[in-house]
């Protein structure tokens, strides 16, 4: 559409195809997985796939419509990475996933965690403003990617353990202990979980620290970490532009740039950029709405309407 002056919304193009699906969504949306009392099921072993098709509301989706004509194989197809559209299936199947971009960087004095805000079920964006940076203690937060339910439940368990640990220790938990609790759950349940997490925080012993806990339950301390599907687009960028010892302002600007570049190319990432800065003085959350993010290649200034452009008298409309 080179040279066309029709305004295109900044982050994605809506087509009729999608609008059709929106109609379908109301009838067929499957709520995501359990995040309440049955959450302990993953520690004891999840029930076999077939019995998970039950209309229980998850934290992310308020809809509780019972699925019609679902079979276990549809869900498997969705779990495999939502090729369901190609297979002619309804593109709203599957558990809530956070195809995501998550980033954590250390700077001189603390850490900055950043994430996009898109949660999808298949091809449908179930939540366009989710908060993927979750508090575990006063001084340690975790960025979540992978299955929404799995990471929520892991966060809940770790928050619960850390609460008791903090009481017993009579001082704030360290980032290392927090990261290792995440690792414990991720490793011991590796067959059943799909959770990639970045733990970041500040404690008085080691200052700002970032720990990466990818699939499988490896734990690695790093000066910066990236994760989620959008991170594929960031390896080169960070190899090129990462530097040690940035200031807080530099680091915050940097992560916003990095996440917004990933959003530009990764279909599974989008929405707003949220950042959480943790240092000796405490925690501060920032919010960068999608329409305030910088524009990248082939993206153009958003407009209210074509009519405004025409009223401004320029440019000429395309004529045969």
């Amino acid at each position: 559409m080179e040279g066309c002056s029709v305004p295109i919304r900044k982050t994605r193009v809506y087509t009729d195809h999608l609008r059709e699906n929106l109609r379908t969504i109301v009838i067929f949306t499957r709520p995501g997985q359990v995040a309440t009392s049955a959450s302990c099921s993953f520690l004891r072993g999840r029930p076999p796939l077939a019995s998970r098709v039950s209309p229980v509301a998850s934290r992310q989706s308020p809809l509780a419509a019972a699925p019609l004509g679902f079979s276990a194989t549809d869900m498997d197809a969705a779990l495999m990475g939502s090729s369901s559209v190609a297979m002619g299936d309804i593109p709203t199947t599957g558990e809530h996933r956070m195809g995501t971009t998550i980033v954590g960087v250390c700077y001189d004095g603390g850490v900055v965690l950043a994430a996009d805000s898109r949660t999808s079920t298949g091809m449908y964006v179930a939540n366009r403003a989710s908060d993927k940076i979750t508090q575990l203690t006063d001084n340690v937060y975790v960025c979540r990617s992978g299955s929404a339910a799995d990471t929520q439940v892991i966060s809940d368990y770790v928050r619960y353990f850390l609460h008791q640990h903090t009481i017993q220790l009579a001082q704030p938990a360290t980032v290392k202990v927090t990261a290792n609790l995440i690792r414990l759950l991720a490793y011991q349940n590796k067959n059943m979980l799909q959770a990639g997490m970045i733990v970041g925080g500040w404690d008085k012993y080691e200052g700002g620290q970032i720990f990466s806990v990818p699939l499988g339950g490896t734990i690695l301390r790093q000066p910066f970490a990236i994760g989620g599907s959008g991170s594929s687009y960031l390896y080169g960028l960070l190899d090129h532009e990462w530097k040690e010892g940035m200031s807080q302002e530099e680091a915050e600007k940097f992560v916003v740039k990095v996440v917004s570049l990933a959003i530009a190319r990764d279909g599974a990432s989008g929405g707003v950029v949220r950042t959480v800065t943790i240092n000796a003085d405490g925690v501060s959350r920032k919010f960068y709405p999608g329409d305030k993010l910088p524009l990248w290649h082939e993206e153009i200034e958003p407009q209210n309407s074509l009519l405004d452009i025409l009223a401004a008298g320029n440019p000429e409309p395309m004529v045969q």
Partner: protein, 254 residues
Amino acid sequence: MAWQQPMDGSHASGSKVAAADGPGTQRTQYPYVTGTSVIALKYKDGVIMACDTGASYGSTLRYKSVERIKAVGKHSLIGASGEFSDFQEILRYLDELTLSDHMWDDGNSLGPKEVHSYLTRVMYNRRNKFDPLWNSLVLGGVKKGPKGEEKYLGMVNMIGTHFEENHIATGFGNHLAIPILRAEWCEDMTFEEAVKLVEKCLLVLLYRDRSSINKFQIAKITTEGATIYPPYSLKTHWGFAAFENPSKGAVGSW
């Protein structure tokens, strides 16, 4: 690394989700973050072990500063390829083992043979439960035995296969490094000769193994203890006429 599909029929083909627990189902795993080859050989003063410092995530070279060789107790080195989280867990088991060994306070300490035997039991028993630790481990060390200082080098892999040898390699190293080691290893090499031989193997692996990176760690274990040298990179050679002009004299560009 195509492992057999779980048999409970709950997965479409090609699914990456491992089986859930339950009656009649198998448990297996898929490796996510993996290290590539480890090579080791016996030399005059003890055992030398080397690997690169990379951990891959599928085909992405995701982590580039990972230590895959660690000291165990006073007498051994362990190197691992395969799933990195399982290696971290094995290190925890070994910590427990060496701690209780130390707490006996009887003047004895676990030597490489004992550690290797322990690891073999762990790996084989996990394999029997269809829940393997997805690693190939290399265990090397020196300890005083009945015949004086005895060097030991062995390996054990995820299915419990284990053996002792004068030179060991895991992963791609089996195919690329072992032939070199078989041709050029000899008894009582000096440290310099051993390092040169190891570097020759590491370079070949760098050229020919897709998951290797140019950042290596060499470690040695002698009667004085374990030394793990800081990471370093090797120079690579591309200045061959045939490389610069591969289609010289050929029709088409191949």
